[in-house]
Amino acid sequence: MGRKYLLSAALAGLALGLSGCLVLVESPAVSNFRFDSNWQRQDTGAYVFCSNRETLMRYRFRAPDSSLIQRIEERYEGFASGKDYTEDRPLGQLSREGSDLVFVGRLTFGQGGIPQGQPGELGPQSIVVTPITPPPSSTGRTRVTVTVTTISGRNYSSSYTYEVYSNCP
């Protein structure tokens, strides 16, 4: 009787322990956000926006299962203007590249300018990074925050701040 009780207790403990392990090793549905653009400062390696040249912005994140994603929200905070813009990005405007989902948008500058993504127009390979030595004419700063909400309601978020330059060479 005693042995049977001990065995049951050990099995129960093992089950509990394993279930705990399973929870611990569960990988997040979304991770590893990365941001860049087609303009990169040579001295610091920072990606920047050039308001006098065609500028593309790209972000990607690891999301092996797209079906787990309910919503992608982009927020643009203009440091100089003090204005914010928030926009939902349709999942269909992101491309799959291995385990990553990738968005590439062409920036429009001016009042209310936000990246415009045309489905099928721009892909992950559309960006060719050009190193630049920016002139001393930083005319703004834009903080981009991407928040991905899964169907379970969990939010994954990351930000990047782009310096905005005019008179890029």
């Binding site: 006098n52 300018g113 930083s138 310096e163 008179n167």
Partner: protein
């Protein structure tokens, strides 16, 4: 007969009156007063210029701040006519009612700025 003479005299006199009428005084030319331009805003505007974008925040009719060289630059109104001219430190912002120009240390850096 006498009556006819009187009428003729009356007509002649009336003509004389017309003849001696004072000539019109020449109109003094008036220089039109051109009203000064109204400062845009208040508020923040992002202009698209030849050379890129520029954010100008009009604080009131006499002061603004713009973002250039990685920092906010404060400028004050210098004149209102024929164009609005703001100046501060090395920076000058000129607005003609539809287009603006930013000058830094005497060099035009952003021109043809519009909304």
């Amino acid at each position: 007969m006498a009556r006819s003479l009187l009428v003729l005299l009356g007509l002649l006199l009336s003509s004389c009156i017309l003849l001696v009428e004072e000539p019109e005084r020449p109109v003094q030319p008036v220089t039109p007063v051109r009203p000064g331009l109204v400062t845009p805003g208040p508020g923040s505007f992002t202009y698209r210029c030849s050379g890129g974008t520029l954010v100008v925040n009009y604080l009131d009719s006499d002061t603004l701040r713009l973002f250039y060289d990685g920092a906010f630059q404060s400028l004050s109104l210098v004149r209102r006519s024929p164009t609005l001219l703001f100046s501060g430190g090395a920076y000058t912002w000129e607005w003609n009612g539809s287009r603006g120009t930013l000058t830094v240390r005497g060099q035009v850096v952003l021109s043809n700025c519009g909304l």
